[in-house]
């Protein structure tokens, strides 16, 4: 019904108002929401989380991975993150280092402890799966305004909460997505759900962020992030068992590709 009304409205307004100005207004609102989302999540400085990654195939079989994720907030440049795997045992000690940049492709390295070798990951691999999960490398990188073009779609409700529906189109040609549709709650500007569309424009994956908890009286983090591939039926759940922000205890020295080999 709402959609229908919009169409009728659009048709009527379309005669009087140029399309460009309508589009412009939506883009401005989209950008405003994105900027507010970013602004409300600034200043956490660092975080360290113990996480369980549960991989699930289409038959419902599960496989678990234990990982620690350390993140450093780098304002005006893009965040740095370091992920260390504790299980399964044969990949224990494998580390993934990522430097997000606002307007250029991220730098990413993988450390393979058995070979004592640090390998650079090619830029386009960002659309590839992160450690066999339904999360792509690019899904693991930080949210930055310049990585997308935004468009406000509508206001809606999602699981009883009022949300802004914002469409964001990746600016990087090597992104695996044609667009993402994000449902952001109007109270706290937290993303509650993201729909990822593949390069052909079909819905590929849905990310649902559950059980948000407040840390340091300011920063919201979801306890569970469930990424479901709607095309294959596979899913990955990331559960934060424990997280601490703004501790000042995350060792900045470890965010260096030359030091990955000593990360445990």
């Amino acid at each position: 019904m709402f959609k229908c009304n919009q169409l009728v409205m659009g048709a009527i307004l379309g005669v009087a108002v140029a399309f460009s100005s309508t589009t412009f207004a939506d883009e401005a609102e989209g950008l405003r929401i994105a900027k507010e989302r970013k602004a409300r999540d600034e200043g956490w400085e660092d975080s360290s989380a113990n996480t369980t990654m549960i991989l699930r195939n289409a038959n419902g079989q599960e496989s678990e991975r234990e990982l620690r994720v350390y993140t450093l907030e780098v304002p005006e440049q893009g965040d740095k993150s370091l992920t260390v795997f504790d299980s399964p045992a044969d990949i224990k000690g494998t580390a993934f280092l990522s430097f997000s940049y606002i307007s250029e492709p991220d730098d990413q390295w993988m450390y393979l402890p058995k070979l004592k070798r640090v390998k650079r990951i090619s830029t386009q691999n960002k659309s590839g799966p992160f450690m066999s999960s339904e999360f792509a490398y690019e899904d693991m990188s930080s949210f930055e305004i310049d990585k997308f073009k935004f468009d406000f779609v509508k206001t809606d409700t999602f699981e009883g909460q009022q949300v802004y529906v914002v469409e964001q189109v990746p600016t990087d040609q090597f992104s695996g997505y044609s667009k993402q549709v994000v449902y952001i709650d109007t109270q706290e500007y937290r993303p509650l759900k993201t729909d990822y569309y593949d390069k052909k424009g079909s819905l590929l994956k849905t990310l649902v962020l559950e059980d948000y908890k407040l840390y340091s009286d300011k920063y919201w983090r979801p306890t569970a992030s469930v990424m479901t591939n709607v095309q294959t039926g596979k899913s990955t759940t990331l559960i934060i068992n424990e997280i601490s922000l703004k501790t000042g205890e995350v060792d900045e020295r470890n965010f260096d590709e030359n030091r990955l080999k000593r990360v445990r």
Partner: protein, 402 residues
């Protein structure tokens, strides 16, 4: 999915890690593996087996203190081989203390260091000796006694190494395959330096990531890890013996990697000088990864590398003018299944080539199997593969991680 769904052991891990990255901790881990080698053809030399079983044990103790500024790793290694007494061997892969300062790192003990970027050949990598009897692919390394200091600054990382003791390369014994007509001696080695194994070697390395580039420059002066072979006696008299001879060398190395879109461009080059030889060797190549090949969940990585060496071939230097083609097939499944196939063609001699296949997958949380195949072909008596031309083999390995 709530926290209650987590297993108790996982909760224990999270409790142990509550303090985050800076808390002191101690860990014990490692693996036990059973390996079965099967050779596809009868041996050339008498006493060599058709099949070979072995068991390897690789535990690891790790502890850190003073908020992670100091760490100690102890990683011994032992392999028992049913056929080849020379392959039954032990080693200290690592026993090293690391102290981390704000902008430096100091290490002392027995350690392992890897340098380089290419896949088919590791020319620049020189700190550790190859444990050749353990793995024919040159990837197994012996622990190297060292003291090293690394300084981290804006222009990269500068590392200096003092290597006070030399490790001799390991070779197959009489009952082993993958050797020349007589085994290379594991007991007697000759050295250019009168100090022999006690000659102190030094190395320097600078390493830096600049945008899409990874750059490494290195210098090494000391005992060559790659021996020359000298022989006494003769085949006719039946008293032929082969001994390794370790020269003193100076080696300059460069390794580069450039990321461009979906391509990785790689290069390694060395210039080595010794009393007998002065030469350049290089390997250059590229890797393209096709993520989600043909709309599937698989990644297909294509590798091409060209190997060049100014030297004439010897037992350890088969690649003068060779081309490697490889495919890495990554399944992106629960069990991290991966298959790598490589084919190396000698461009000077169409009959000389070798190939390898490496496949691995996880069976359960703690068990993993690996299958490796190595194939050698040459009709050229000058080619080092001539000695092992009938040593094509498949090895199946089951490993338990604890």
């Amino acid at each position: 999915m709530g926290r209650s769904a987590l297993k108790p052991s996982l909760l224990a891990v999270s409790i142990a890690l509550q303090g985050g990255i800076n808390e002191a901790r101690a860990e014990f881990s490692g693996s036990v593996s059973v390996e079965q080698r099967y050779f596809l053809q009868d041996a050339i030399y008498t006493a060599q087996p058709r099949a070979q079983s072995s068991v390897a044990l690789s535990p690891e103790w790790f502890t850190e203190w003073s908020d992670g500024d100091n760490t100690l790793v102890f990683k011994p290694f032992y392999r028992f081989d049913q056929e080849d007494s020379e392959r039954t061997h032990y080693d200290i892969r690592e026993l090293i203390w690391t102290h981390l300062g704000q902008s430096y790192e100091f290490r002392a003990g027995v350690g392992k260091v890897f340098w380089g970027q290419t896949e088919s050949l590791h020319l620049v990598d020189i700190i550790n000796q190859t444990d050749l009897v353990d793995a024919i692919d040159f990837e197994a390394k012996l622990g190297q006694p060292m003291v090293s200091f690394s300084y981290y600054f804006d222009a990269g990382t500068l590392s200096a190494f003092v290597l006070p003791y030399f490790r001799e390369r390991t070779f197959s014994g009489v009952q082993g395959r993958l050797r020349p007509m007589v085994p290379i001696s594991n007991d007697v080695a000759f050295y250019e330096s009168d100090d022999e194994q006690s000659h102190v070697d030094y190395a320097l390395r600078w390493q830096q990531s600049i945008g899409d580039w990874e750059i490494g420059l290195s210098y090494f002066t000391g005992t060559n890890r790659e021996p020359l072979l000298i022989n006494t006696g003769s085949i006719e008299a039946g008293d032929l013996e082969l001994f390794p001879y370790y020269e003193l060398i100076d080696q300059y190395g460069i390794d580069l990697l450039w990321v461009n879109d979906s391509w990785l461009y790689k290069f390694e080059g060395i210039h080595r000088e010794s009393e007998t030889v002065s030469f350049f060797a290089g390997v250059a190549g590229l890797e393209y990864t096709w993520v989600g090949a043909l709309g599937s969940n698989y990644d297909l990585g294509w590798l091409i590398e060209y190997q060049y060496d100014e030297r004439d071939s010897n037992f350890f230097v088969p690649s003068q003018n060779d081309l490697m083609l490889g495919v890495r097939w990554v399944w992106n499944d629960f069990d991290s299944t991966e298959i790598l196939f490589g084919f190396i063609q000698d461009l000077d001699n169409t009959n000389s080539y070798n190939a390898y296949l490496e496949a691995s997958t996880r069976m359960t949380e703690n068990w993993k199997w690996t299958m490796n195949g190595y194939f050698f072909a040459t009709e050229d008596i000058e080619n080092p593969y001539y000695f092992i031309r009938r040593d094509d083999h498949v090895e199946f390995n089951v490993e338990f991680f604890f």
